[in-house]
Amino acid sequence: METEIAWRFFNKFSYDRFSLAYMGRFDDELTAALMRTNEMSVQEPQMLKKRLSFLIAECFQNIIRHEDKPEIITRTNNKPKVFLIRNIGSKHYIASSNLVTNTKKEELASKLKAINTLSEEMLKSMYMEAFENNEISDKGGAGLGLLEMARKTGSPLEYAFEFVNYFFSIFYFQICLESRKNEENESADSKEIIHIVETKELYNLMLSESVQIIRKGDFSQESILPLINLIEGNLKLQTNFSGSKKKTMYMLVELLQNLSKHAVKVNGEREGIFMISIKNNKYVLTAGNYINTNDVESLRKKLENIRDLDKNELMGIYKETLKKEPGINGNAGIGLIELCKYSSEKIRFNFKPVSEIMSFFSLSITV
């Protein structure tokens, strides 16, 4: 169930200040939208932010340009690309996965292995050499991409391959940009360390649960606007979208703004998780956040009351509630009613006690 999966991912990302996982349609235009989503959430000095934006764009465009596509997609080789950004403490991770032919795999592996052995000075001179010799492949990027990433992060490039079939393997790639370098004898906070094996796990979980987008972090209004744009851009790319794109956007905005309003503030941030997955060829939007355990019962009652109403009854309650005076925050109170109205299947919700005072609430609607 999506509401359970949201909790699983929320847990996996529990130390993340911000995480974004994207397995949707890919396009260069989306790079800008992706970068904005990140920019809003990153609280680092300007130089680091710029570097991070550059690396994100570079990584994202790499998987668009250099992936190998099977001529015929089968169940075995149906491995969509994924793109991941995670911020834990002082570390910013960017990871990706895409298919590569097994012949390319060897070349790639040796290139990466070699780059990882180079010192900072050697990286610089190799970079200048490649640049001067105009080593431009027909796919552009000058073959400098990997060198550049190694230089800009000052960390080894992590990678792994997963066999798919005779022709293809999945290529996992991960880089880490740190806002402050640890001293040699300072032990890194283990919570902040993610190895590529964890990225593989995330990928496989997303794949098995048909999850397209996950965002975990702060859900204040400024943070959700770029996310809304990202998803709107993604929707525009879909040509065979059966449902109503507008209704999807309406429900999306509703869900996200609900998170904005009701997620308990933890360290000054309205922390939550948002997920889009696919079930029976329909999009399922799921939102999860902490709420005070004291508020669980009243919310549960409210939801149970409207969940089972039919469309006519919902319209009746909608009109009735609209005509009433606005509530304390000027809330019309119609948000949840609207979600029920437009959800093509009954809404699903779940409450999970986390501590004595907090519970995790998740809500799924179907487009």
């Binding site: 606007l225 507008k246 209704k247 309003k261 000027g330 019309a332 119609i334």
Partner: protein, 126 residues
């Protein structure tokens, strides 16, 4: 009261152009403010003054790409104010505009129309 109210559109709030002299009243763009009540308060205040001495014919043009549920309540309040004008035997109407294929905006317009007693005109923008 100023003879006009002009609010520039932003990423999450619509453009508001209300001008008594030019007899233009329009709400255009996107409406998804965090607090719709706060955003629309000056709009409602201006209109509340306006309806005390309305023009002989007042048409409110609403052309929104989308709006959130908290905007719905505020829009209803605004349409109710125009309904007041209509009830007092002045001419008033709502022009509800939406893009071709935008079934959500069409439905929202029809919902409002069914709840109100003021004439609605639907206009499809190509």
């Amino acid at each position: 009261m100023e003879n006009y109210l002009k609010l520039k559109g932003t990423e999450d709030t619509p453009e508001i152009l209300f001008n008594k002299e030019l007899n233009e009243f329009s709400i255009t763009g996107k409406s998804l403010p965090e607090d719709a009540f706060v955003f629309y308060r000056p709009v409602i205040e201006w209109l509340t003054e306006y309806i005390k001495q309305p023009n002989s014919k007042s048409e409110l043009k609403i052309a929104l790409e989308y709006f959130n549920s908290s905007s719905v309540k505020q829009l209803l309040s605004i349409i109710l104010l125009f309904e007041e004008i209509f009830k007092k035997d002045n001419e008033a109407k709502i022009i509800w505009c939406y893009s071709e294929g935008d079934d959500l905006m069409e439905i929202k317009g029809l919902e409002f129309e069914s709840m109100m007693n003021i004439p609605f005109e639907f206009k499809i923008l190509s």
